[in-house]
């Protein structure tokens, strides 16, 4: 039980290190995506420990899983894809303006122009 939590913690750290230390903008956005996915995994894992069956009401079910984190994670997944789409559009716009995807080169080209 604690091994799964430690693996999710390692995915979180991987996404975070990708966000702050990679020089390519697309890899930073991939790190942001991994960060969001790891938290969704953590919530669904915690919600599945208190029951045996899927949360559908029927005559034969007796012990259902907690449905509240699942409803929260639906919203979280949709908002994750919204942030990814908007940030990728901004990355393409930066490439068209400065000609490179490397943040050090972008920074010095934007400083030379202003």
């Amino acid at each position: 039980m604690i091994i799964e939590r430690i693996l999710i913690f390692l995915i979180f750290i991987t996404g975070f290190i990708g966000l702050i230390s990679m020089k390519n903008i697309i890899k930073k956005i991939i790190g942001l995506n991994l960060l969001s996915s790891s938290i969704v995994l953590l919530f669904i894992l915690e919600a599945s420990r208190i029951g045996d069956e899927a949360p559908f009401l029927d005559d034969k079910v007796q012990n259902i899983v907690d449905p509240i984190p699942q409803a929260l994670m639906l919203t979280a997944i949709v908002i994750g894809v919204c942030v990814t789409a908007l940030s990728l559009a901004m990355a393409v716009r930066l490439y068209k303006t400065t000609g490179s995807l490397d943040i050090t080169i972008i920074k010095e080209r934007l400083e030379n122009d202003c």
Binding site: R5, F9, F12, I50, T97, R109
Partner: protein, 243 residues
């Protein structure tokens, strides 16, 4: 410079890991009060036997309205950046010219694999998306899931060159999106004029009519999400499918 950078990254990661480590190492049990309440009362109060649907379409409808609004804002922002991509260039820097969109003859067939998959599977996925959207109150599915599958089906129809429908026309899709978004806002906010509060079912005693509200909400959310995602992806592909 290299050693200092590695040290800074390590220090930041070490500090950030303190924000999530208490959840990893905690021993307390998950509370079961909410699950027991929903097990007893979810079907009587909202009419849906899918408890996840009864939460985000029954008890917490305002969160779903906010999420639809966030999706709308994100797609509007992406489209506005998309349509102005070729405007200004920094002085004196050679940018690599982007590929012009879809530069091929209009009646040229693609490879056989893509053509078969796109044109023959497209209508089947469309039907499956409508099924997932309409049965959200009894089986897994609902508005968002059905909407995204609908968007994938419309993208399949736009990828093929054999099928010519009006469903890939951007004007038709945006008109459907406007009508469904307007009726979603009207349906969720008309209860301000009633004394029962925000979203109570009109007919809770009659179990046939109380699931109608959830079906109507699912249809509107699904149509809005599906058509707006399809408009954005068709604009990314070049936007030339006006039959």
């Amino acid at each position: 410079m290299n050693k200092r950078r590695i040290f800074k990254i390590f220090l930041t990661t070490f500090i950030i890991s303190f924000t999530i480590l208490p959840i990893i190492l905690s021993n307390s049990s998950w509370p079961t009060l909410a699950r027991d309440y929903l097990f007893m009362h979810a079907f009587d109060e909202t009419g849906a036997s899918n408890t996840v649907s009864s939460i985000y379409l029954g008890y917490r409808l305002i969160d779903t309205l906010g999420e639809t609004l966030v999706l709308f804002v994100a797609i509007t922002g992406t489209m506005s950046i998309l349509l102005n991509l070729h405007k200004q260039v920094l002085q004196g820097v050679e940018t690599q010219s982007s590929l012009p969109p879809e530069k091929r003859a209009k009646n040229a067939l693609r490879t056989n694999l893509v053509e078969v998959v796109a044109s023959k599977l497209g209508p089947i996925i469309l039907l499956f998306g409508l099924y997932v959207m309409l049965y959200g109150h009894k089986s897994p599915g609902g508005g968002f899931q059905g909407g995204v599958i609908l968007a994938s089906a419309i993208v399949f129809l736009a990828l093929s060159t054999v099928v010519k429908t009006k469903l890939t026309n951007s004007n038709v899709l945006s008109r459907i999106e406007s009508i469904s978004f307007l009726s979603l806002i009207l349906v969720t906010t008309y209860v301000v004029f009633f004394p029962n509060g925000f979203f109570r079912n009109i007919a809770t005693n009659n179990s046939f009519a109380s699931a109608t509200m959830i079906i109507i909400l699912n249809i509107m959310i699904g149509l809005k999400v599906g058509t707006s995602l399809a408009v954005m992806i068709i604009a990314m592909m070049g936007g030339q499918h006006d039959y």
